[in-house]
Symmetry: D2
Subunit: 155 residues, 4 copies
């Protein structure tokens, strides 16, 4: 599906927000591998600083929670975007900054073994003030590592 | 309450595991402020890399989840320790390494404003194979920032 | 603490709503044992229809979830009440009817053995549009059976 | 896929357990609409006793939690069944009775309007001692009413 010029501008704003503007995200090193009005996918490469269990060399649960919350927030942001009337980029930016996670549940299903991890999310419900999303983390071999659901305040 | 020599040795093992051995914990910079067989408290100092919303200068939700999961795991470890028969430090170390978070729910209650954050945890249930804990994060002024519950596999 | 006449009128409205107006609550048989602007406690008597495991004769997990959600909703309602400007009982009644549970997590800690169960709740956060609460269920001997947290839309 | 005679015998045991033996389930009136080694679906008809909000005539959240927990437990039981060595029906029955829900999160997405509700579940992870499942509740028009995840002790 084609994105309009405007959509692309906003999606780039979201990309910058999640990848660069948020310091902790930059440390974790997450990047959008897909970011359209239809689908959000984030990837993160394994590296020593992200290890949770040095004996097993697996991804830290805190990193898993961080990435799943980020992709859920991105999915909720894109959903919000579709509901909003046209507004300036500066207003949009402030609107996104007012969003927040209400609560997050992560089910850690399998050890985070792998060299590259992919997080994707889906909207379960998009209301006027709240969005609920579900998210999944897979490794590069397609193994499901973690599942999550979260509720977001839309600001 | 006095800890026996043996307890202290094991608590030091736990301290090293959580503060130093786990690379991602070291990056986050969490430290035990209290670690006895009766109580676990971890602290983390705010710094630029841990920010989640640069406009507001607040602690990242992923850091909050990471610290709450860590203190919950520590509380569960100490509980497990009380149930275990005496064993060598190397066996204990392997036993702790087999523990894992089954699932974690974090309620983000208030923006993570502050210079220093304190996470504490309590055991809700300690079974043979599973522990359930609740955790809280406060800032240095005593504001409750987040609440969490988690289930841990005892290995 | 003394309740004003007005508070009492509203608390009676809440009592009727939770105990009588909601058909499924009436079947479960929950009753407020304490209902003030400071504290909500609900009780439920064990009986055959509420059993979840006939071999063990324990309370059904669905009943536990139902009672914990109810007491959390009551606690959130009382919190909302304190924030609202004075309004007619009919407006208040409609306001309460617009409230809803966003999500609920129940930790089932111990088998629901007992003859009488007591559910209590506390507000973790009360915002303009959302309340977050934690709840506990004990049996008549003071054993902690279940713990829960929930987010409520304030309508 | 064809079920062997033995599988059918066990599935009938499960059906009887969930539909008839558990008193609270019988009150709620849930019935398996599909129960094979591949898929579990439960249905429940709306009736006055199950209403949560008489103004709106919607299904009570406690009923939603009850049905989702039941279908998650059934899915976990069927998964467990595939792992178990052959055993007598009486041993199996005791094994199922030892299972229990560790924790349950329900996301209430839309008002429970409808005349008939359908709950289905999927295994996210099946371990030796724990299963994690996700569940969904739809009404007869296919509207997604609620989503849940749960962890079960396999006994």
């Amino acid at each position: 599906m084609n994105e309009t010029q405007d959509d692309n501008e906003v999606l780039n704003l979201l990309r910058e927000l999640y990848e660069t503007t948020i310091p902790f995200n930059r440390f974790v090193g997450m990047r959008f591998e897909e970011l359209t009005t239809e689908r959000c996918v984030m990837g993160v490469d394994m590296r020593t600083e992200l290890v949770g269990n040095p004996m097993k060399g697996i991804l830290h649960g805190g990193v898993i929670a961080t990435v799943l919350d980020a992709v859920g927030g991105a999915v909720a942001s894109v959903g919000l975007l579709k509901q909003l009337p046209p507004m300036s980029m500066s207003d949009l930016s402030q609107r996104f900054a007012r969003m927040g996670t209400i609560d997050l549940r992560v089910d850690f299903l399998r050890p985070g073994k792998g060299a590259h991890f992919i997080a994707s999310g889906d909207v379960l419900r998009l209301g006027k003030s709240i969005a609920v999303t579900k998210m999944e983390l897979h490794n590069e071999q397609g193994t499901l590592i973690a599942h999550a659901t979260a509720a977001y305040m839309l600001g």
